[in-house]
Structures are given as C-alpha cells and as structure tokens.
C-alpha cells in the first residue's frame, strides 16, 4: 500500500471534489461537509464515471405522502442512470452494490489517499 498526496484541505473546501488518477486508478476525492472521502470513479452498475455525477441531498425514508429532504452533500448520483450512493459509506441506496472506497489520511492539512498498487 502506498500513500498518494492529493491536495490540501484549503483547496478542497466542503462541497468540492477532485478527480485524480493514482496508481492507474481513477478516483474521486470529495469533501463531504468537512469529511474527506475517496471513491473509485466507476459505477458498479454499468461502469459509468460516477464521480462526475451530481452531489446533493435526497429524500429521506418517510411515510407515504411525506417528503423529507436531507443528507445534503452526502449523496452522489450516477450521471448515467441516476443510482444514488452514500458517499460516506459507498453503499448504493437502492442496490446491494457499492462504490470502492479508499482510505484517506490527513497529515498537516494535506490530503493523502492509500492505494494498493
């Protein structure tokens, strides 16, 4: 496993993302309301470049007829088919498939991700 330097915290404010290629892998690094996460830029459904998709909130589980908006900034939607994924866990909201996540380390305001090459 190697650590790869991505950027500094200053350059990746909440809501921002950075697409990188590290050890041959295309990866999206996101600042999700202050938490940095890294996921592989491949949708597990049809292999779309998911990390260019919309990051937004979504409607939370609710009773019929209720619309409750929440989780702003935590949900990544695939640009092809709209499947929603929880950026914090990688889990798809509607399917058992999930995004491949990478470990993130922050050292002195610098963001690194850990990738096996």
């Amino acid at each position: 496993m190697s650590l790869y330097q991505i950027t500094s915290l200053n350059e990746l404010p909440p809501g921002a993302r950075k697409l990188v290629t590290v050890a041959g892998k295309a990866i999206g690094v996101f600042n999700v309301n202050g938490q940095i996460v890294a996921v592989q830029n491949i949708c597990p459904h049809e292999l779309a470049p998911i990390c260019v998709g919309r990051v937004d909130g979504t409607t939370l589980e609710s009773q019929p007829g209720q619309m409750i908006w929440g989780r702003d900034g935590e949900i990544l939607a695939c640009p092809w088919h709209g499947w929603e994924f929880d950026l914090l866990t990688g889990q798809c909201l509607t399917d058992r498939r999930r995004l491949r996540q990478f470990e993130v380390k922050i050292v002195d305001e610098t963001i690194f991700i850990a990738v096996y090459s």
Binding site: T21, G24, K25, A26, Q40, E46, L47, P79, G82
Partner: protein, 392 residues
C-alpha cells in the same frame, strides 16, 4: 471508423432543436415555432436526474471537448458510434411527441420538418447514421405520403410512431400507414414517452400516475395494448410482410402476456376469425423488441430463464437509447444475452431487418470500414473505458 465496429444500435436520440426544424417549415408554422410554440411538450413529470444523462459532452481530452455528443452528427459518430463499436445507429427524435398535437396540420408539417432536418444535418455527415421516418399517426394519409416520400432514401430504415395514441394501433384507422410501410419494405416502430400527451389517452389504463417513477414504469401498458390490438385486428394477416418494432418497451413481459392471449383465443377465436394460428404465432413472426432497458432481476439467472422462453435470436435487437438516463451499453446488454444468440441480438437481426447489406451498397461507403463488409464473427468486449479505469 474503428475497424472493429460491427454492432447496430437501434435506438439513439439526437437532440434536434425545434428552432432548427422551423427552418424547414412552411408558413405559418415557421413563424409559430419561431415565436416559441412548438406544440405539446410533455405532462411535466419530473425526473430528478434529467431525461438526458449528464455526461453528454465530448471528453476533455478530445478535440471536440465540451461539444454535445447528441446534438451534432460528427461528434456522435466519434463519441458514440466509434466509442461503442457501433457500425450504424438509428435516430429516433424525441420530437415525435409533436405528432400527437391536436393541431393536425401543424403536427404533419412539423414531422416532415423533423425528417428534413435529419436528412440535412445528420445523413449528410455520415452513412453510418440511419433514422426512422417520423410520422403523425393521427393523419394516416399524411403519414403514408411521408413514408412514400422518403422510402427511397437509403438512410431511412423504418417508420416511427409515438406509442401514446388516441386508439390502439391495430385499428383499421391506421392501416394505410401499414400498407405504405409494407409496400416500401419498411418496418413500423413505436417508441414510448408520449403516453398522456396531446390527443393520446390518459397515460395508464388506470388514469394519471403521481410521479415519473410510476409513469415511466407503466409505459409498458401501452405496449401491451398495441400488441394485443395489432394481432387481434389482423394487421399481420392483412399485411403479411409487415414487421413491427416495439422499441424500449422491455422484454420480460411479452411471454406471459402471450400465454394469456393464446388461452383467451382458444375460447374466443370467433371474434377474430382471421387468426388461423394462436396469437403468439403472429407475435413471434412479426414483432421485434429492442433490448433497452433490459430488465435486471436480483438473480440474473431468472432473466436467462425468461429469454429462453422466446425466440430472441429473431426478435430481439440491441439498443442503447443514448443519451437517455436509462440507456444501456453494448457490453452490458451482451453479457445478459446467451452466447449463442449474442451476435444476432447485437447485430445480425437488425442488419437483416433493415436490409443493411443493400443499403450500404446504395450509400457512399467512403466512410465505412472493411469490417462492415466482413463482420467479425467473434464477439469482442466493445466497451471502451473513458480513461484507464478498471473494475474492482
């Protein structure tokens, strides 16, 4: 062209600006569209992801960077046809919805304008771009004339009607359309998405659904009604050479509906005495389906079981539906099709139905690679990753 291009994509949606169609309209329709009124739009059901997928722009590392792939013929050839190893693609314009306008004169003129825009802006760019003749089914005489007007053009390969309708398509109201299509050797196709628009009936037999999820899932309802109507009313007895393509209606519903149809026919045959065979016989001889959106059961084996119940080797054709939100790539579809039938589904059935051997001789083939004349018999994985992505 990519030398390995060999797949035929039977459903692509070019973006055609109504203002471009206006250039081909006679007055007063040109003035009308230029003033901002292009007829019935849609019911307004909201797809949170957008109906066109978000990455319709050419990649940053290409000379076409930032250009819409769906709005320009050359960009589409390079970034859709070449990218996915497609030898040909058939254009079906979203503007078919205007064909359901209650203003019939306008609807007819507009559909003619759509066809002219396709000839001018798309066909002229590449012989690999094919298209449907867009017609207005509410005026079958005009539709038939439009079919005969364009039938000799080698890049028009079928007739397209919206699957939203005033009356199911087996009705003899529409038979002059089928007569023209059969005479010209063209299949007739329907495409979903217009259910509830213009003069069509309510979007489902149960009335108005409450959101896009309901509306879109229920679109198969009109397909069911058209299938039953076409067979029951004897369209394929009257027009024995006619083929009917049900684009984007799904695949898995067909067999159980035909079981029900055959069972009812055994008792009720006297209502359709021209049916000398069970209804399923006519379906398997005359109906073709396109793959997208291929059903994705949790247990993929269940889809395999279902596909084995119908002659997919002669009635199923690959479609991407590019660039709509629920589109499929060729390799995704290919993996769902049993290996023995894969080449037929991805290419051969469409090649034969649309007479592409004959057509490729009749169009300037400067652009066509040798692989079209000598199609690869072995399937390759046509998916070309956007960069050096790998699946883990």
């Amino acid at each position: 062209m990519n030398d390995s291009a060999w797949i035929v994509d039977t459903d692509i949606h070019p973006y055609i600006d109504p203002q471009r169609v206006a250039d081909f309209l006679p007055q007063p329709w040109r003035r009308r569209v230029q003033s901002g009124n292009a007829g019935p739009g849609h019911l307004g059901y909201w797809n949170p992801n957008g109906v066109r997928r978000n990455d319709i722009f050419a990649p940053d590392d290409s000379p076409e960077k930032g250009k819409r792939v769906d709005a320009d013929a050359a960009t589409m050839v390079k970034h859709h046809l070449d990218r996915f190893a497609l030898s040909h693609g058939i254009l079906n314009a979203d503007l078919i919805n205007v064909g359901l306008s209650p203003e019939t004169d306008f609807a007819c003129a507009f559909m003619s304008g759509v066809n002219e825009a396709i000839v001018t802006d798309w066909f002229a760019v590449s012989p690999r771009i094919l298209a449907s003749i867009h017609v207005t089914p509410t005026d079958p005489q005009h539709a038939a004339a439009e079919i005969r007007r364009w039938a000799a053009h080698p890049q028009f390969v079928q007739v397209l009607m919206p699957s939203g309708s005033r009356t199911a398509y087996g009705s003899r109201l529409y038979h002059s359309i089928y007569a023209a299509a059969e005479e010209c050797g063209l299949p007739v196709a329907i495409h979903p998405g217009t259910e509830g628009l213009g003069v069509s009936g309510v979007p489902t037999a149960a009335g108005y659904p409450s959101n896009y999820l309901e509306w879109h899932t229920g679109l198969v309802g009109s397909y069911l009604a058209h299938l039953i109507s076409l067979i029951s009313e004897g369209v394929f007895v009257k027009f024995p050479k006619l083929k009917f393509v049900m684009i984007e209606g799904g695949v898995s519903w067909l067999v159980p509906v035909l079981w029900r149809f055959d069972k009812n026919w055994k008792a009720l045959r006297q209502l359709s005495p021209w049916l000398i065979h069970p209804p399923s016989h006519y379906a398997y001889e005359h109906i073709l389906l396109t793959t997208q959106p291929i059903e994705e059961p949790e247990n993929p084996q269940q889809l395999q079981t279902l596909l084995a119940m119908m002659p997919i080797e002669k009635m199923l054709m690959f479609s991407s539906d590019y660039p709509h939100w629920d589109g499929d790539t060729p390799d995704f579809v290919g993996r769902h099709i049993p290996a023995a039938h894969r080449q037929k589904v991805l290419r051969d059935t469409a090649w034969a139905l649309y007479r592409l051997d004959e057509r490729t001789k009749n169009i300037d083939t400067n652009h066509t690679a040798k692989s079209i004349q000598n199609p690869k018999s072995k399937i390759q994985n046509p998916y070309v990753p956007i960069s050096n992505h790998e699946l883990e």
